[in-house]
C-alpha cells in the first residue's frame, strides 16, 4: 500500500491551516511559482495541490467541487458625497469618456477576485472557529464540533460542515479555547525535569540575595521619634519618583521590577511613623489612607509653614492611581491566573508559541474574546485592493487554482 505522506512536510512545502512551527517555516520559505518552464496543466495542477493543502484540507475533493461556485462576492465602497453631487451622467461628458481635466484621475485599485476561490470553505463552522482564533488548527476546531463543545445561536451544533448564514452566532466553551490557544503543560519526564531544574535555579538566586529585613507589616516602635520634615520630604520624593515607573508598567508584563520597588518604598515611608500599627497598614487600601492621614496631621502639627511637607493634588491623584495598579496586579495574579494543576493548560495561562504570527481576525467575523463567541457577519468579500479570504499564496497561484475548478471534470 502507498505510504501515507507526512502532514507537515518540509521536503515538499505544504502550508497547512494550523499554528505549528513547520507551517511557519514553510510560510517563511514559500516562493511564487516559476511559470516559464511548465505547461498550463502542470501549473494548474500544482496550484490546486498547494491551495487545497491549506483551504479545506479536511474536505473530500468531490464535496469541495460541489461547494465551489464561480460567482465570487465583491463589494464597491461608495461615497455618499459623490452620490449626492453627481447622478452618473458626468461620466459620459466630453467625448464619451468623461470631461477632460488637467488632474490625472486616480485609477482605482484592482479587485483581487482570484484570491476568493475558496470563500465557501470560510463559511464552514470549523473554518470559522479557526479564523476567530478559538482553535489552533482547523482539524482541532472540527474535533470541538464533533465533541459537542460548540453552540450555534444557542443550540449545540455537532456538524463541522454546517454552513454559517450571515448573522449566525457561534460559541465555543471558554476552557476549551484556553486549552487550544494556551501553552501546553510540561508532560514528558524530560520536560518536567528541566522545569524542576529551572525552578531550583530561581530559588537559589532568591536565597543568594540578602534577606528582606522588614516583613510586609512595619513593626510598632514606641521609642522612635517623629520624622523630621527633611527626612519625610526625601521619602516622599522617592515615592513620587517610583510612581511614574509604576504607572508605565503593565500589570501583565513579566518584568514587574518597578511594582516591587514601589511596594518597598511605600513600606519605608510608612515605617517612619511610630503610630503605624500592624493592622492599620496591612492592606493596600489601608496603606494609602494611612499615608494621606499621616501627612495631613503632620502638616497641622508642624510649627512653621515652610517646614510643612505635603503632596500636591496632582501628586495625590497619581499616588492613588499607582495604588490602583498594585491592586489590579494582585487581582490578576490571584483570580485569573493562579497555578492550578487540574487545568488542562499550563497555568498561569500564556499564549502558545508562534501564536502572534497567526493572530489576525478577518473582517467578516465579529469576535468577543471574553465569552469566546463570534458572529458571522457576512460572506467574505473582495474589495478594491483587498481580498478577505486569508490565503498564504500569491495571486498567480490563486488564479491557477480558480481556473482548475472552472472546468468541471
Amino acid at each position: 500500500m502507498r505510504k501515507k505522506p507526512r502532514f507537515h512536510s518540509i521536503k515538499r512545502i505544504k502550508v497547512r491551516a494550523d499554528w505549528s512551527r513547520w507551517t511557519l517555516y514553510n510560510l517563511a520559505r514559500l516562493k511564487p511559482p516559476k511559470s516559464y518552464i511548465r505547461t498550463y496543466f502542470q501549473q494548474k495542477w500544482t496550484a490546486k495541490s498547494d491551495t487545497r493543502a491549506y483551504h479545506g484540507e479536511q474536505i473530500r475533493e468531490k464535496k469541495w467541487k460541489r461547494l465551489f461556485t464561480r460567482n465570487l462576492p465583491a463589494v464597491v465602497p461608495m461615497s455618499h458625497k459623490y452620490l449626492a453631487q453627481h447622478d452618473g451622467s458626468e461620466q459620459a461628458a466630453g467625448r464619451g469618456g468623461g470631461a477632460d481635466s488637467q488632474r490625472k484621475t486616480q485609477v482605482p485599485m484592482m479587485t483581487p477576485y482570484m484570491q476568493m476561490t475558496y470563500w465557501p470553505v470560510e463559511r464552514r463552522l470549523d473554518t470559522a472557529i479557526f479564523r476567530a482564533l478559538f482553535a489552533s488548527s482547523v482539524r482541532q476546531a472540527r474535533q470541538f464540533c464533533v465533541h459537542g463543545l460548540v453552540k450555534v445561536n444557542g443550540k449545540k451544533m455537532r456538524f463541522p460542515g454546517y454552513l454559517l448564514n450571515p448573522g449566525d452566532m457561534f460559541q465555543v466553551v471558554p476552557e476549551t479555547v484556553m486549552f487550544a490557544t494556551g501553552a501546553p503543560k510540561t508532560r514528558s519526564a524530560v520536560a518536567r525535569r528541566i522545569a524542576e531544574e529551572k525552578r531550583a535555579a530561581r530559588g537559589e538566586a532568591v536565597k543568594a540575595k540578602p534577606a528582606q529585613p522588614a516583613p510586609e507589616v512595619p513593626v510598632l516602635d514606641a521609642s522612635k521619634p517623629d520624622p523630621t520634615p527633611a527626612r519625610l520630604k526625601k521619602h516622599l520624593q522617592e515615592l513620587m519618583a517610583d510612581v511614574e515607573g509604576v504607572l508605565a508598567t503593565d500589570v501583565k508584563a513579566k518584568d514587574k521590577q518597578k511594582l516591587r520597588e514601589f511596594r518597598q518604598t511605600v513600606r519605608r515611608a510608612i515605617s517612619l511613623w511610630r503610630i503605624a500599627s500592624p493592622d492599620s497598614v496591612s492592606t493596600l487600601d489601608n496603606q494609602f489612607t494611612f499615608l494621606k492621614s499621616a501627612l495631613s496631621k503632620f502638616r497641622q502639627e508642624s510649627d512653621t509653614p515652610e517646614e510643612a511637607v505635603t503632596l500636591t493634588k496632582e501628586e495625590t491623584n497619581k499616588l492613588k492611581e499607582a495604588f490602583e495598579k498594585l491592586k489590579e496586579e494582585a487581582d490578576y495574579n490571584s483570580t485569573w491566573n493562579k497555578r492550578d494543576a487540574s487545568k488542562p493548560y499550563l497555568t498561569p495561562w500564556r499564549p502558545r508559541d508562534y501564536m502572534s504570527a497567526f493572530a489576525f481576525i478577518p473582517r467578516y467575523l465579529e469576535v468577543n474574546q471574553n465569552v469566546c463567541a463570534a458572529v458571522y457577519l457576512r460572506h467574505p468579500v473582495a474589495r478594491p485592493g483587498l481580498a478577505e479570504v486569508p490565503s498564504p499564496f500569491s495571486y498567480e497561484t490563486g488564479q491557477l487554482a480558480f481556473n482548475w475548478y472552472l472546468r468541471r471534470r
Binding site: V75, M355, A357, A387
Partner: protein, 318 residues
C-alpha cells in the same frame, strides 16, 4: 524496498532548526503592544530597517501595510483592525442606554450596521454571564487583543478629546456587486440624452434599483443633498426627524403584523410538547396545486432525501 525514513538528522531538518532558533525566534513570543507578523521581518529575521534603528526602550513606530501582512506572498490580504474593548462598550451603551438606532450608531462610530448589531448582541451575552457569575476568559482576551491591531476609542467626555471625531473603523457604505451588473453592456444612446445611474441600472435589469437605494445608508445621501440645496440647519433637522419618524412607524407596523400572526395561532399544552393549531385554507395551493403558500402533501414529486448530493445536515438554526 524499505519505506522507513532516514533515522539521522537530515540537512533539511538541520536547516529547519537553524531557522527556528535564528530568524524564527523573534516570532515565538508576541511583541509587547504590537503585532508580530511574518511580513514585518526580512529574510534574516530582523524587523524592517526603519524599526531596527529604534532602541529597545523607545516604543515601536506605527505599523505599515507590510508589517500587517501575515502572509508575505499574498499582498492582497492584510490584518485589519478589530474594535477595542472600550469602543465595544461605548457602542453598546450608545444603543442600549441612550437608545440610538443601529443606523445612527453605525454612522457615528464608522462601524457597519451588521457589526453594531453583533457587538450589542455579544456584549449582552457577556453582561449576562457576569450577572450569572460565570468566569470570563480574561487572560485569553487580554493576550489576543494585544496581538491584533485595534481601533482605539476617542472618549468625548475626556477634556483632551474636545473636538475630535471617532476614528473610522471601516467603510460603511459598501455596495454589493450585483450579478446582473457583471455583464459588460454596450447600450447605444442618443448623444444629447442625460444617461444617469438609474438608467444604467434599468439597462442591466428591469428590477435593479439604483445605487442610491441599495447602499446601507441611503439617508446620508439625502442629508448631503439637503445640505447642498442650501436649507437652514433647522429645516434639515426637521427633515431628518421626519425620516426618523417614518422609520419608527414602519418598524411598529412590522411588529404589529408579527403579533397578529402569533395571535392567530392557538396553543394547546400537552405533557411533552404543545399542539400549535393554525387555520388554513385548502384553496391556497392555487390552480397548479404547487403554490408555496399552500399547505399539505404535494403529489407527484418524489422524496430526494436518499439522493447522493443532497445536504442532510441543518442549513439554518432558529
Amino acid at each position: 524496498f524499505s519505506q522507513t525514513s532516514c533515522r539521522q538528522a537530515t540537512l533539511r531538518r538541520r536547516e529547519f532548526y537553524e531557522w527556528l532558533n535564528g530568524p524564527g525566534a523573534s516570532l515565538k513570543q508576541p511583541l509587547l503592544d504590537s503585532t508580530n507578523y511574518l511580513g514585518a521581518y526580512d529574510k534574516y529575521g530582523n524587523l524592517q530597517a526603519k524599526k531596527a534603528e529604534v532602541e529597545a526602550e523607545e516604543p515601536l513606530p506605527p505599523e505599515t501595510t507590510s508589517d500587517l501582512r501575515p502572509f508575505p506572498l499574498n499582498k492582497y490580504f492584510r490584518s485589519q483592525p478589530v474594535l477595542s474593548e472600550e469602543l465595544r462598550e461605548a457602542i453598546y451603551q450608545r444603543v442600549k442606554r441612550d437608545g440610538a438606532t443601529v443606523s445612527l450608531a453605525s454612522v457615528e462610530f464608522g462601524v457597519s450596521n451588521e457589526r453594531v448589531g453583533a457587538v450589542v448582541r455579544l456584549k449582552q451575552m457577556e453582561k449576562e454571564w457576569i450577572a450569572q457569575g460565570k468566569t470570563l476568559a480574561a487572560p485569553y482576551s487580554k493576550a489576543v487583543l494585544a496581538m491584533v491591531p485595534t481601533t482605539p476609542y476617542i472618549d468625548p467626555s475626556l477634556p483632551g478629546n474636545k473636538g475630535k471625531r471617532p476614528i473610522n473603523h471601516e467603510p460603511i457604505n459598501d455596495l454589493p456587486v450585483h450579478p446582473a451588473t457583471r455583464q459588460q453592456l454596450f447600450v447605444p444612446v442618443a448623444e444629447s440624452r442625460q444617461f444617469t445611474r438609474a438608467d444604467a441600472g434599468k439597462a442591466f435589469d428591469n428590477n435593479l434599483l439604483p445605487a442610491d437605494d441599495r447602499i446601507p445608508h441611503p439617508e446620508l445621501v439625502q442629508a448631503e443633498r439637503e445640505l447642498a440645496s442650501g436649507l437652514s440647519f433647522e429645516q434639515r433637522r426637521q427633515l431628518a426627524e421626519n425620516r426618523f419618524a417614518a422609520e419608527q412607524a414602519k418598524k411598529k407596523k412590522e411588529a404589529q403584523k408579527k403579533e397578529a400572526e402569533e395571535a392567530a395561532l392557538r396553543t394547546v399544552p400537552q405533557r411533552r410538547w404543545d399542539y400549535v393549531i393554525q387555520n388554513i385554507n385548502a384553496e391556497a395551493v392555487g390552480k397548479s396545486e404547487r403554490s408555496y403558500k399552500g399547505v399539505g402533501w404535494r403529489y407527484g414529486f418524489p422524496h430526494e432525501d436518499r439522493k447522493k448530493g443532497q445536504v442532510k445536515i441543518p442549513t439554518k438554526v432558529e
